[in-house]
Amino acid sequence: MSTSMSEKDQYKNRIELLQGTLDMLILQTLQWGPQHGYGIVQALRLQSGDVLQVETGSLYPALHRLERQGWVQSEWKQSESKQRARYYRITAKGKKQLASDLGRWERIVEAIGSVMYVKPKESES
């Protein structure tokens, strides 16, 4: 295999760093309807105002893993531009997962927020 181990590991590390968040973002995107991989990338980019650029090296492994976990289902369909593509659809199990991911995300944001926005005076007392 031509790919060196370190390069592969890099990808893996990125997946791991993003894992929880990326899963949540994908599931959230699919809330609005079935979508293919390219569509998900575009949607996330648009929704985030060009801030979130998902690597394909993270996206496809994530999609296939989500499918294996039963959180999404896929099927081949024609797109509007007559392109045959694999569409992913969120399952009931996926919706539950999304809800719990979201809950956890909110707690983390709150926790980080409370650390970051501590008022100096209060901390001195």
Partner: protein
């Protein structure tokens, strides 16, 4: 877990490729729409996507491995692990191979005998052999021709029913007469067995009892090949059998050797081929046929027996005088048919297989011990793999796979070994007078047996240790210092249990072999009631070679005279039967005025003997006289009975002068003497009545000369043979051998049992001893540090020895107690095979327990001694 993803693997790879292509196409389309040129759009999209093969690779990893990929990886890993410890791998594989081979060897013998009762026949599972009257281990042929024909024609449960009887004949006509085993068979013999002729044809229904027809003969493949040079034009030609011309009508296919399991027929003729055996064909009291039936589909043995007994009941009611005694018919499947060798096989081989099974269990316990120790040594590796995300099932699967690899290797070795050991069964049978054809077979059934045994053994030796080892909490193992952890208390318990199991399993092995060996010794030492040493026997074919009755009598006298005159010969006599050669000769006896009890068998053993028979065999005549040269043709018919016959027929009376008939309407014989009881077939038989007639009065179909010699009887063999050939060079002389050699047949099964049980017990003893040694040594080594501390704190060497010894002996003690209970429960299954010794013989039990105890003590003492001699300071430092 997905089970068969590998079938869809290529498909999924293609789909992933397509998915990525679609992604790129859409990206390019978007860019072109935004005004980029096709070329730059493609480049940009590709750049944006990144390394396509890498994305594919990482994505594929998300699918999880399929069963086969996983298995392939696990197998490679297991092989790597086994290669790392060659000592363990070789030892475990060898032990398992030996144990599996022990089982497969015995099984191949069962396969070659009991499971293949009639080689060459079809559907032997539907065949049953019929027995009439009291069930007997080695019955005589139970049916007369007329009774057989009625049973065959009036039953409703059989698709066919054949009958046969065997005899020796001589193939005359060539330069030298050759003895052959012939079977007189019913016309449907081959049809019922489903055998098709290789050349010519078999008998037609109308030929069964057609008198005066041209006598016909069918040859076995091997006889056709050896004596007639595989002549393809032999069919239709005439050959000479006992000086009678017979026309060859067919040759049986290769491998088919008749219907008696374990015996070999050389040729077949109809029931009365020469038309000179009318008596046998018309008298219902002359039972000489062995009958085998083929059950109709769906009919059970019980139903068939009921059906036959209904028919038999009618026959007995119609001809009561010809059917005195017990007439109930019982049926046996061919694997344990009492006619032929399978009755003996069925009594011996399954028990040996069970004992071999114990050896395999014991070996598994031993290998499991080694495996557990090995897994404990690898616990850090296991813990690391666990913390890297391997779940418990994966670990167990991996470890069990290592066991499976071992046992597969062992199974392959056993398979190779068995191709050879299966053929060793024939070694047990010394040269003897019977056409015995017994050996093991190595076929697919044995191969399947080996596969199953290896699989089970692999599971047994690895599943338990694997399950235990996978339980260790990873964090603790990784934190703990390696020397401090002696495998955890659970492992210790499992190790102890395995040691106890090994001792408990080896005890019954030792006990069985002890009992069998004592039995063999008792059999060898038993007094059969006649002299076996310094006796040479030689059989001469007279009537079988076509000599007339008168010629036979003359030649017999000549043999007696010439052989007696040989230097080195003390006494010579004639007989038609040699005791203790697995040969039962019996007739129905009708003592005058004796009223039989219901179901009482009329059968008595009989032999036709010459004057001085009792003298040469040292059988005392208790009352009356021995036969004299005057007991010949014209003289009154004389009979000598043994004590059992005398007591049974004339209790409390003087048997001399009493009379009896042999066969319902035969002549009356007068008792002239009473001989002491002697052994007929087996030393451990229950005494059955025996009668002797004069060989010069009664025709006696066979002639065997018995010579009492001064020196080694074998030395006289050429001289005796010469003396007989001086009378007539064409006389076939065969089975010339010392009597000791012939009578070995009576203890042949005891020899087989004790040889195998002895071998198995030896394996068991070695395994048990190494097992307990290994565990005690291992544990002592693990406690080196602790022992060092104890010694530094003032414990004496004796204390250390006691510490180590006690721990081993406690296990040995528990094992011995459990094993004893186990063994005493098992020995009753072999009680039937023992002689002169109880199944729970205290002396044997105590010696076996002592032997195992001493071995255990020794096995524990070695590591204890080593621990004691260590310097406490180095012991403490050694972590």
């Amino acid at each position: 877990m997905k089970w068969f993803p590998s079938f869809g693997f290529q498909q999924r790879k293609r789909e992933l490729q397509e998915e990525i292509d679609a992604h790129l196409q859409m990206a390019i389309a978007d860019r072109v729409e935004r005004g980029e040129t096709a070329e730059t759009a493609r480049e940009a999209a590709a750049r944006e996507f990144g390394n396509i093969p890498l994305v594919q690779d990482v994505t594929r990893q998300m699918w999880g491995l399929g069963l086969f990929e996983q298995l392939g990886r696990d197998v490679r890993f297991a092989l790597r692990q086994l290669r790392k410890s060659p000592g363990f791998t070789i030892a475990a594989t060898t032990m398992l191979a030996v144990a599996i081979c022990a089982n497969s060897t015995v099984f191949s013998w069962i396969d070659g005998t009991m499971l293949r009762p009639i080689p060459g026949a079809r559907d032997t599972g539907d065949l049953v052999s019929l027995q009439r009257g009291e069930r007997n281990f080695s019955p005589t042929p139970p049916f007369s021709y007329l009774d057989y024909r009625d049973l065959r024609e009036q039953n409703h449960t059989f698709a066919g029913m054949l009958a046969y009887r065997n005899d020796w004949i001589a193939l005359t006509g060539g330069a030298q007469p050759e003895r052959a085993y012939i079977a007189n068979v019913s016309a449907n013999f081959f049809e019922v067995l489903g055998v098709k002729p290789m050349l010519g044809r078999f008998f037609l229904p109308e030929e069964e009892s057609r008198p005066g027809a041209v006598p016909e003969v069918i040859l076995s493949y091997s006889l056709w090949k050896t004596r007639y040079a595989a002549d393809p034009a032999l069919v239709g030609k005439s050959i000479e059998v006992s000086r009678h011309p017979l026309t060859v009508i067919g040759v049986a296919p290769e491998g088919f050797v008749g219907a008696a399991p374990g015996l070999r027929d050389d040729l077949w003729v109809t029931l009365d081929p020469l038309g000179n055996d009318g008596w046998r064909m018309t008298h219902r009291d002359w039972a000489s046929l062995i009958v085998i039936g083929k059950l109709r589909p769906g009919v059970s043995r019980d139903q068939a027996a009921q059906d036959l007994n209904t028919v038999m009941h009618r026959i007995v009611a119609a001809y009561p005088d010809d059917h005195l005694g017990d007439n109930r018919i019982t049926l046996d499947p061919m694997w344990r048919s009492p006619f032929g060798a399978n009755g003996y096989m069925a009594a011996t081989l399954p028990i040996l297989l069970a004992i071999a099974g114990l050896v395999l269990l014991l070996t598994c316990a031993n290998v499991a011990t080694l495996t557990l120790v090995r897994f404990v040594a690898r616990r850090r590796e296991l813990a690391i793999r666990q913390s890297l995300g391997a779940n418990r099932m994966q670990l167990v699967r991996q470890m069990v796979l290592e066991g499976a690899m071992l046992s597969t290797g062992a199974g392959a070795a056993a398979l190779l070994l068995t191709t050879w050991t299966s053929k060793t069964f024939a070694w047990f049978f010394p040269p003897n007078a019977a056409p015995i054809r017994l050996n093991g077979t190595m076929d697919y059934k044995v191969a399947i047996g080996i596969a199953v045994a290896s699989l089970l053994a692999g599971m047994l030796c690895s599943a338990l240790p694997a399950w235990r080892s996978s339980q260790a909490p990873a964090i603790e193992v990784l934190k703990a210092e390696s020397a401090n952890v002696s495998g955890g208390s659970r492992n210790r318990k499992l190790l102890s249990a395995l040691v106890v199991a090994q001792i408990a399993l080896s005890l019954p092995l030792l006990l069985c072999s002890g009992l069998f060996l004592r039995t063999l010794k008792n059999l060898a030492g038993a007094d059969p009631g006649f002299e076996q040493d310094h006796i040479l026997t030689a059989s001469v074919g007279l009537s079988i070679a076509g000599y007339s009755r008168d010629e036979t009598m003359v030649i017999r006298h000549k043999i007696m005279d010439r052989v007696s005159a040989l230097p080195g010969v003390k006494v010579a006599s004639l007989t038609n039967w040699i005791p203790m050669t697995l040969r039962r000769r019996s007739v129905d006896a009708y003592p005058e005025g004796y009223v039989t009890h219901p179901h009482e068998s009329l059968q008595v053993y009989h032999a036709d003997v010459s004057p001085r028979y009792f003298e040469s065999l040292h059988i005392p005549i208790l009352e009356g006289r021995e036969f004299t040269p005057d007991d010949k043709d014209k003289a009154p018919m004389a009979v000598i009975v043994d004590q059992t016959a005398a007591r049974r027929y004339w209790p409390g009376q003087d048997p001399l002068g009493k009379r009896l008939r042999v066969v319902g309407d035969g002549p009356l014989f007068t008792v002239v003497g009473v001989a002491k009881n002697s052994t007929h077939m087996f030393v451990n038989e229950s005494p059955e009545p025996m009668i002797y007639r004069s060989i010069f009065q009664e025709g006696g179909d066979e002639t065997t000369v018995q010579v009492k010699t001064e020196g080694n009887p074998a030395d006289l063999a050429p001289a005796v043979e010469n003396a007989i050939h001086e009378i007539d060079t064409r006389l076939p002389v065969f089975d010339v051998r010392p009597m000791r050699e012939s009578t070995q047949m009576a203890s042949i099964f005891a020899v087989i049992e004790s040889a195998l049980a002895g071998m198995f017990a030896l394996i068991g003893l070695v395994l048990a001893a190494t097992g307990i040694y290994g565990v005690v040594a291992y544990r002592t080594q693990m406690r080196t540090h602790e022992i060092g501390v104890r010694m530094a704190l003032g414990a004496s060497r004796v204390d250390v020895i006691r510490l180590v010894l006690l721990q081993g002996l406690r296990l040995a003690g528990i094992g011995l107690v459990l094993g004893l209970a186990f063994a005493l429960g098992l020995t009753r299954f072999i009680a039937r095979l023992l002689y002169g010794i109880g199944a729970n013989d205290p002396v044997t039990v105590v010696s076996v327990v002592m032997l195992l105890g001493v071995m255990s003590l020794l096995a524990c003492y070695l590591p204890a001694h080593r621990a004691m001699r260590r310097n406490p300071m180095t012991a403490i430092r050694e972590l």
